[in-house]
């Protein structure tokens, strides 16, 4: 089970190292509220655009080990922007990766941005 250290992730986002950004796909492929899945160095990553803000998290649902999170419905719950796993409907905070139903569980998050018409990720 991947448990992300959310502080570390946030640190990365606020201070992204130059370089290390990988273009994944054209920017228009990621439309509002519809997730897509990318394969980056063997890792399956779910990318979302919500209210013109980009998010990237591990696509593998830690509860089922199936790579389904890009196919969940996005929305907000109590002020947090979340995706619901399509299998058992647990919600994951897109910003932190933390599961709302079980805070001991989280998915990895990745820095993501739009640059020159491309979606770029900083993946491990």
């Amino acid at each position: 089970m991947q448990v992300a250290n959310s502080e570390e992730t946030n640190a990365e986002q606020t201070n992204p190292q130059e370089g290390g950004w990988k273009a994944v796909c054209d920017a228009e492929v990621v439309v509002d509220n519809l997730g897509v899945r990318a394969l980056v160095d063997g890792a399956q990553i779910a990318i979302f655009r919500v209210q013109n803000q980009l998010f990237a998290i591990d696509a593998i649902d830690p509860f089922t080990k199936a790579a389904v999170l890009s196919r969940g419905i996005v929305g907000d719950l109590k002020g947090q922007i979340v995706v619901a796993s399509p299998l058992y409907k647990q919600h994951f905070n897109l910003q932190t990766g933390v599961c709302l139903e079980d805070e001991s569980v989280a998915v990895k998050t990745y820095p993501v941005r739009e640059n020159n018409g491309k979606i770029e990720l900083q993946a491990p």
Binding site: L39, G42, Q44, A67, R71, I73, G75, V82, P86, L87
Partner: protein, 849 residues
């Protein structure tokens, strides 16, 4: 140890209740029970007898079954009457000569209809209204009649009149007294009831004393009245009251009342040792109780007395609430104000035809009785106030005048009721019982009905019980919040209404006008479903796609490993060899696991996202359409082979199943919908376990509604019988659209109906009688959905942009490496966790992928 033998004479509602009570007593094993029924069947629900005319069968009315009796060791003898009691030797003898010895004898012989001694009353087509056999005779007679008269304008008489009217006869009610329901109503109430009934084309003749029945000039008979007038008719139904069936007791020396009835004490014991009498044959304190609730109380008391328990019978409340010819009528306590010094409050609304009267004590503090005609919603509340002797508010009239602010009015509130107050008089369920059911986790009236039986008798207490449930939930801190989620302060039903009325076409518009936030996985699919039910636009449209659950979005069913299964439509379960081969070839080519579903279709498992378009291309080319197995939508119509092939088949069930499936395919609803059509009553298609079940009979189609399998299986209820194709489709149109319109999110039809106030009867009134005047609208709405159907897969295959959504990865053509299969019984299946670990380590792949 010697078992005590209990002989129960009569297996009507009360006799059966007695047996149930004995069986549930602590010492049930000590008793050996045998019951005799003069009728050819065991106990059935005589209170609901009139539903026999609106489609219920004798089976629907049964209160018990032969297998239940057998399993519980109750012996029964049908079609044989006890004709002799030998109280010295403790024996009874039947008409067929059977002799039975008893330790305890219980007479539950009931009553018979009183037929006034009018010359000519014994001719054909002069009938009574009491048993299923009587009803069969009435139906047979009605087929040869145009005009029918009911003699007697009491409660049963008006029900009989309703039956005649439903059988299509010109209907008359002839009453000796100056008003209808003279026992229960006062003059004002009786007058309004008459007016309302006459508006329904039932002719009412009061103060008519029939002198003779002779041959008619224009019709079969002519009834001559004492005042010189006459009435011509083809058939006559006598419903002029009941008389206790007491001849057995009379003949063999039990103490009788002056005007009949077997005298009993507070324990329902007769004058002879070890002999009890209960129900309508028993006379307690010089009174006969002609309602079922007091009969049930007597059954309980007698059973307790025999089994060594406690309890006595000290009279019963004769208050009643019912719908007569669609008119709400209720009578409580001293309805006529006969108590010395009693005062009245009367509320009359000439426009809406409502009459209410409160009878209060001289000091204005206690409610003695009430009459309600035209609207009886206050019944439960008033009855409780009356029975519990609760103090009235300072202005008691507030209890019956309508509230202008639309509030619940001055109802004293369920909170004011004592714990012991009986909410459901039919099943003697107290407030305390319901409260503890709520404390144990029941949250809906449907659950209360199944765990306490409250509200399952006459149904008169449902409104009050619902209030009680909600009030208890609030007290327990369970917020009775019916909002669909945090984004909308509305129920699904309200959202549906808003979407319809404001012609809203997108989630953004709805949330902007009526909600807040971004939405979530609860409200988005619910709104998507509402939009689809209303406007039926292509679900992959830009604005609709993000609302869909992954199943709807990719038009396939996600399985546990993130792959999809595919179910093409096989309408009615009929498939040609060519199509079967085509499907097999697709499955083989894409290495899919295949399985036959419960709905007579074929499910193809194991497709990855990027496989879906190619698979569907081949399926569409072979003539298949999407099966909507992924949607909260109409799924399948299962069928048996029907009259085309089957030697028992009565109608073409496959043809009808295909017709139904083609009509409703793609209809999105609050939950999935399953159908079935059987070609005869052998019911091979199992239609009675479906939301909509259709069964062929000699007289046309029978329609069953609101059944389901699954976690909580439920038999469907018989909704209507003798339907032709057109009427059947019309009823299903209305039923489905009314469900779509009013159900909660993810509420199957069964739970939906259980929570509709008035249940099945109400549903029939809406759909068959158009009580709400919405049927045309419902049909038009359905027509729109039917007319705008498209195969979503076919449309998608023609749209390059949409097909791009089916890529597994946006940046790679690789497959999902988490999807691992192993072989089992010649097909693939997902590898389990242990198998994946060994697979991954064998191949040396990175574990975190």
């Amino acid at each position: 140890m010697h078992k005590q033998k209990v002989v129960v004479v009569g297996n009507g509602m009360v006799g059966h209740k007695f047996i149930e009570n004995i069986l549930s007593s602590e010492d049930a094993q000590q008793f050996e029970v045998i019951t005799f029924s003069e009728e050819p069947r065991l106990a059935y629900d005589r209170v609901q007898l009139s539903s026999y005319f609106s489609g219920s069968t004798a089976d629907d009315l049964m209160l018990t079954s032969e297998s239940y009796y057998r399993e519980n060791g109750v012996a029964y003898v049908l079609g044989d009457k006890v004709v002799e009691i030998n109280t010295d030797q403790n024996q009874v003898v039947t008409a067929k000569g059977r002799v039975e010895t008893y330790d305890k004898l219980v007479l539950a012989t009931g009553s018979y209809p009183f037929v006034p001694p009018i010359p000519g009353r014994e001719q054909p087509h002069c009938l009574v209204y009491r048993t299923i056999e009587d009803l069969e005779a009435i139906m047979a007679s009605a087929e040869q009649s145009k005009v029918g008269v009911v003699v007697g304008g009491g409660l049963l008489g008006l029900e009989a009149a309703n039956a005649l009217k439903n059988l299509g006869l010109e209907t008359h009610v002839v009453e000796f007294a100056p008003r209808l329901m003279a026992v229960q109503l006062d003059e004002g109430g009786g007058q309004l009831l008459r007016k309302k009934i006459e508006n329904l084309d039932v002719n009412v003749h009061t103060e008519k004393n029939t002198q003779e029945i002779v041959a008619g000039e224009n019709r079969r008979y002519r009834m001559n009245f004492a005042d010189g007038s006459h009435l011509e008719t083809d058939m006559i139904l006598f419903s002029a009251g009941i008389r206790p069936q007491d001849e057995l007791a009379r003949e063999f020396g039990l103490e009788m009342g002056e005007r009949g009835g077997i005298v009993v004490n507070n324990f329902c014991q007769t004058s002879v040792d070890n002999v009890y009498a209960i129900g309508e044959c028993a006379l307690w304190n010089n009174r006969i109780f002609g309602l079922v609730a007091p009969g049930y109380q007597m059954a309980k008391v007698a059973a307790a007395h025999i089994a060594g328990g406690e309890g006595d019978f000290t009279g019963a409340d004769m208050s009643t609430k019912l719908k007569l010819l669609g008119v709400d009528v209720a009578s409580i306590g001293d309805a006529q104000g006969r108590t010395p010094g009693a005062l009245s409050f009367v509320y009359q609304d000439g426009i809406n035809e409502i009459y209410k009267r409160l009878v209060v004590s001289a000091d204005g503090k206690k409610l003695l009785g009430a009459v309600l005609v035209g609207e009886a919603e206050d019944y439960g509340n008033l009855l409780q106030i009356c029975l519990n002797g609760m103090e009235l508010p300072e202005a008691p009239e507030q209890l019956i005048v309508p509230q202008t602010d639309g509030g619940a009015g001055m109802a004293m509130g369920v909170d004011a009721l004592p714990e012991g107050a009986t909410i459901c008089t039919c099943h003697e369920v107290t407030k305390g019982t319901i409260c503890s059911a709520v404390a144990d986790g029941a949250t809906t009236i449907g659950e209360i009905k199944s765990c306490t039986k409250a509200g399952t008798g006459c149904g008169g207490c449902v409104a009050l019980a619902t209030q009680l449930v909600n009030s208890e939930l609030t007290k327990l801190g369970v917020e009775v919040n019916t909002d669909i989620c945090e984004h909308f302060p509305h129920t699904r039903q309200e959202l549906y209404h808003i979407v319809r009325v404001e012609k809203i076409k997108s989630f953004e518009e709805l949330v902007a006008k009526h909600g807040r936030g971004l939405g979530c996985d609860i409200c988005k699919p619910a709104v998507a479903s509402i939009l689809a039910s209303c406007w039926n636009n292509y679900i992959m449209d830009e604005s609709l796609a993000p609302l869909q659950d992954t199943n709807d979005y990719f038009m396939a069913n996600m399985q546990k490993n993130g792959t999809y299964s595919i179910v093409p439509r096989v309408a009615g379960g009929e498939i040609s060899p060519d199509k079967l081969i085509a499907m097999g070839e697709v499955a083989k080519k894409f290495n899919l696991y295949t399985k036959i579903t419960g709905g007579q279709r074929i499910d193809l498992f194991g497709a990855q996202l990027h496989d879906l378009p190619a698979i569907w291309k081949e399926l569409v080319d072979a003539g298949f359409e999407t099966g909507h197995a992924y949607g909260k939508a109409v799924r399948t119509v299962k069928s048996c082979v029907g009259s085309t092939w089957c030697r028992y088949g009565v109608l073409d069930s496959v043809g009808m199943a295909i017709k139904i499936e083609e009509r409703y395919k793609g209809l999105r609803a609050p939950h999935k919908l399953k159908f079935a059509v059987s070609g005869c009553t052998r019911e091979c298609a199992e239609a009675q376990s479906k939301d909509v079940g259709v069964i062929a009979t000699e007289n046309g189609w029978s329609l069953y509604t609101c059944g389901n399998g699954g976690m909580k299986p439920r038999h469907a209820d018989l909704f209507a019988t003798g339907l032709d194709d057109e009427t059947l489709i019309r009823y299903i149109d209305r039923f489905l659209m009314f469900y779509v319109r009013t159900a909660d999110r993810l509420q199957r039809t069964s739970v939906w109906m259980d929570n509709l106030e008035g249940g099945l009867d109400y549903l029939r009134k809406v759909i068959i009688d158009d009580k709400l005047g919405v049927c045309e609208e419902l049909e038009n709405e359905m027509q729109h959905v039917v007319g705008t159907y498209q195969c979503e897969w076919k449309t998608t295959l023609n749209d390059e942009q949409k097909l791009k959504r089916f890529r597994t990865f946006v940046n790679s053509d690789k497959k999902d490496s988490t999807v691992v299969y192993v072989q089992e019984r010649d097909q693939i299946r997902p590898a389990n966790e242990a198998e994946i670990v060994s697979f991954v380590s064998d191949s040396g792949a990175k574990a975190e992928a």
